[in-house]
Amino acid sequence: MAGGIDRRLVYNVDWVLVGATFVLALVGVAMVYSATHSGRNPDLYLKQLALVGVGTLGLVMAATIDYRRLADRAMLLYTLSAVSLVYVLRFGPLKAGTRRWIEVGGFQLQPSELVKIAAAVIVAKIFSEYRQETLGLGDVALPGAAIGLLAVLIAREPDLGTAACLVPLFLAVAFLAGLRMRAVAGLAAVILLLAAFTWPFLKDYQKTRIYTFLDPSLDPRGAGYQKIQSQIAVGSGGFVGRGFLEGSQAQLGYLPARHTDFIFSVLAEEAGFVGVVVVLSLYLFVLWRMLETARLARDRLGAFLVAGITASFAFQVVYNVAMVAGLVPVKGLPLPLMSYGGSSVLSSLVGIGLVLSVRMRRFAN
């Protein structure tokens, strides 16, 4: 009776969330087309479309699985995550100074993207087993250490952006599970201290990024270049945008990483403030709907799982868009659902699949 596809379950699918998700993914495909149609890989948008298809399969599978069965295997998930991350660090191909990928049958997969999903399951499982009303710092030490280890492994690749996603994930679930506000403040202090101690171990290019974020004119051709060019693209889009395929920053190649991390710049330039508000509203709708699902969940496990996935998703959206707008330092963090990249699309869609799974089963036993 658990698992399998029940008619009642299909009836409870959140079709509105599914619809909004696929609108965003298709806007992403259109922006990938705009960003790459005149370049060396003009067919990249077709690949992205295919990846959305693969991701849809992942979404369906995730929705089909009963999240409670998944949570029962949290220990296995954790082991798999840690092993894959260590494997990447040891044997992954070196690309642009980083080891983030593993080759799977001709495809490249970023384990860190899927580890985010696993982390959400693990954190939800641990916190759902606590029975007390409020939690102190001592209660969060074990899950904190478990997630911290994964984050450190990801940060070593190095992939600070993805590693950072685990922090809001963990904090959001701990907060829902009853972590006291005083403890939240303490945790923030611990994280700040950790950041201070990490500073000497940051690579030079990472430090430069932070310096030039504070003053982009320090290096208008180097690290500050991306922020400057992105702001120019966004600002020059104006209220209604310059038109699809008409953005000079995107079309003439001034925008860096325009089909991946800076895909939102292309949208802002070509669709203007109007397009930005429409797409941000869609994201807000998706996030709101996900948190609604957490509220409707039949158990703490479901609520925590959805909250963890949503927190990491929200962090990525907010950070990436803030980066495009020049509000935060440039970090390699893709925009969920829209940025080109298989692992990111797959991870986003699987995450939403799990959210659907929780919602579908809110009345089920």
């Binding site: 051709r221 693209a233 600002g235 001034y254 941000l280 996030l287 707008a325 020049g326």
Partner: protein, 603 residues
């Protein structure tokens, strides 16, 4: 049976997370409103700067034509290598590679980079060779931020001929950039730096056009957005006669000095030379520092236009002025005679005539013809300095002629007021005796003396010398000085005798009657010359003023040969060559003197 957990606490905390998400997205929307609506224009401009590159379409400067329409100064196509540093991802690498490709120093390129304007293409090398262009084309993809522009370059087919009159062009200087006259120009613009090129710079420049092209992030041109065609500078016709100018240059070969030929009826300059000269072509692409230094420090001052900037003692050519003044003031008549014993002792000084044995009894005509000093000592004593100075100034000494060339010298006509003002000492009557024969403090430019010749030639009108035929015009009409025709006739008669039977005999032509006046300008005191009589730089300058034909003069001339010893020996033969060409009589000098003149004796 269903078991529901109590989730109320979790649900209330979820509301906090929902509020947080809404708040963050709202913050983002505010930032996008700020960037895309409030500051949209600023960023639109930046995007425009990013993608568009302004390519100047240089307007060719107007050509300079001679009176017959021959090209004196024109333009030829040339290649400029330009760089837009904003498009360079690694500027150091681009500069190093460019310096290597063009075979020039990196420092030279960096120096230009410092003074450039943002987003304006920087000219790295002007007048690049075909080999340079080929080398750059071969590296087109490695150096996309570098391009080659075809621009018209100033060309001076006459090379150094008439160089001082025509002038030269050069990059605008820092000082010029601050002047109102040049305020629309950018650093690196070519402007006239001397001569007509400078005087008529604004008229000749035309208006540059531009192309605004769209470039991609690698600096490669994608399309053209806008084009404004350049407006060519209009050509300017000068009064110079290229053929006569060539004859003047030829006559001056191997000599230092200057000559200027005017049309005495209008003041138009027919030819003008100053030697040694320089080749203005060397300046058009930016002269290098060592070449400039050698020109600027040359003791022969090749950059100076001696015709308007060289001030020389006029020597005996001044007697034309003294004679006119004396006749007009009624001090003498053409028939007045004085006896010349070879010297005049007056004011406790002995003043010498050039002919130590004496000229004997002289009337005005013979005094001018033989350049008798004693006659003019007597004239000076009777005129006195005030009336002499008045007439010298009327005839154009001590003030610039107003020719349409920059930086003209004014020369000097001394007077008691001038001496009191400058030296705080009174005028001595003995000084007038010297000034009457063009010695002492008086000095003048060759152009001023050519103008004096023109006054006698055209019947008493002071011309305004000028080079441009199509510009100016108003205010350039000759000004009548109110000299009586009898005076003009008497002076002219004396000048006719100078060539026919006096010191100017080498200027005689077979079929055209030439009027003239010789002169020699002492460079050092006579006593010093006597100590080293053969030192070249101590020899007097030779002068010759002339106009012809005597009855209806169409040309007036001043020739000055530096250190030519005498006007008779140096300047008069040059004048003859020029006049012979003007009248189409290019033939050798006639045989020796037939008149009464002593060839050695003048002054």
């Amino acid at each position: 049976m269903r078991i529901y957990e109590d989730l109320r606490d979790v649900q209330s905390r979820l509301a906090v997370l929902q509020a947080l998400v809404v708040g963050l997205v709202a913050l983002l929307v505010i930032q996008f409103w700020n960037l895309q609506v409030i500051r949209a224009r600023h960023f639109r401009d930046l995007a425009e700067n990013n993608r568009s590159r302004l390519v100047t379409l240089a307007a060719p400067r107007g050509a300079l034509l001679d009176r017959e329409g021959h090209v004196l100064v024109g333009n030829r196509p040339s290649f400029n290598v330009v760089l837009v540093p904003e498009h360079a991802v690694d500027l150091d690498r681009v500069v190093a590679r460019l310096a290597w490709t063009l075979g020039m120093g990196e420092a030279a390129i960096r120096e230009r980079l410092v003074r450039r304007q943002p987003y304006r293409p920087l000219v790295v090398k002007t007048d690049a060779t075909l080999a340079d262009v080929a080398a750059l084309e071969a590296r087109r993809l490695e150096l996309p931020e570098v391009s080659v522009e075809v621009v018209p370059l100033r060309s001076y087919p006459l090379a150094s001929a008439a160089a001082h009159a025509l002038g030269r062009v050069g990059e605008i200087t820092e000082r010029q950039l601050e002047l109102a006259e040049y305020k629309e120009l950018a650093a690196g613009s070519l402007v006239g730096q001397a001569g007509v090129e400078s005087q008529y710079n604004r008229e000749l420049m035309g208006r540059d056009g531009f192309r605004r092209v769209i470039v991609n992030s690698r600096g490669l041109e994608v399309s053209e957005a806008e084009r404004q065609a350049p407006v060519d500078g209009p050509s300017l016709t000068l009064s110079i006669d290229a053929s006569l100018q060539a004859a003047v240059e030829k006559a001056f070969e191997g000599r230092a000095g200057s000559a200027v030929a005017l049309d005495p009826r209008t003041g138009e300059v027919l030819a003008m030379t100053s030697t040694p000269a320089y080749d203005p072509n060397e300046f058009t692409t930016g002269i290098d520092a060592s070449a400039w230094a050698s020109l600027a420090r040359d003791p022969q001052t090749p950059l100076m236009n001696r015709v308007i900037q060289g001030t020389y003692s006029p020597g005996s050519t001044f007697k034309v002025i003294a004679a006119t003044a004396a006749l007009e003031e009624g001090v003498i008549t053409p028939a007045t005679t004085f006896f010349c014993p070879g010297y005049l002792a007056v004011y406790n000084t002995v003043f010498h005539c050039a002919n130590a044995r004496g000229h004997g009894v002289m009337d005005l005509r013979r005094a001018i013809a033989n350049s008798c000093n004693v006659y003019f000592f007597q004239v000076g004593i009777r005129l006195e300095i005030a009336r002499l100075a008045k007439w010298a100034k009327l005839m154009g000494l001590g003030v610039p002629t107003g020719i349409d060339l920059p930086a003209e010298a004014s020369g000097l006509m001394p007077s008691p007021e001038w001496k009191m003002r400058v030296f705080k000492t009174p005028w001595y009557a003995g000084e007038t005796v010297s000034v009457a024969i063009g010695q002492g403090q008086v000095n003048a430019t060759p152009l001023q003396m050519a103008r004096v010749a023109a006054v006698i030639a055209n019947g008493g009108r002071l011309v305004h010398p000028h080079l441009a035929r199509t510009a100016g015009g108003a205010g350039w009409a000759p000004v009548p000085l109110g000299i009586r025709p009898e005076t003009i006739a008497a002076v002219k008669e004396g000048m006719r005798a100078v060539v026919a039977e006096g010191t100017g005999w080498p200027a005689r032509l077979s079929t055209v009657e030439v009027c003239g006046k010789t002169g020699s300008a002492q460079v050092v005191a006579k006593s010093r010359l006597e100590k080293s009589p053969n030192a070249f730089e101590m020899q007097p300058h030779g002068w010759f003023l002339a106009f012809a034909p005597a009855d209806d003069p169409r040309i007036a001339l001043a020739v000055l040969v530096e250190h030519g010893r005498s006007g008779t020996g140096s300047a008069a033969p040059v004048a003859r060559q020029i006049l012979a060409h003007f009248f189409g009589l290019d033939r050798p000098t006639p045989p020796g003197p037939s008149g009464t003149a002593d060839t050695e004796a003048e002054d």
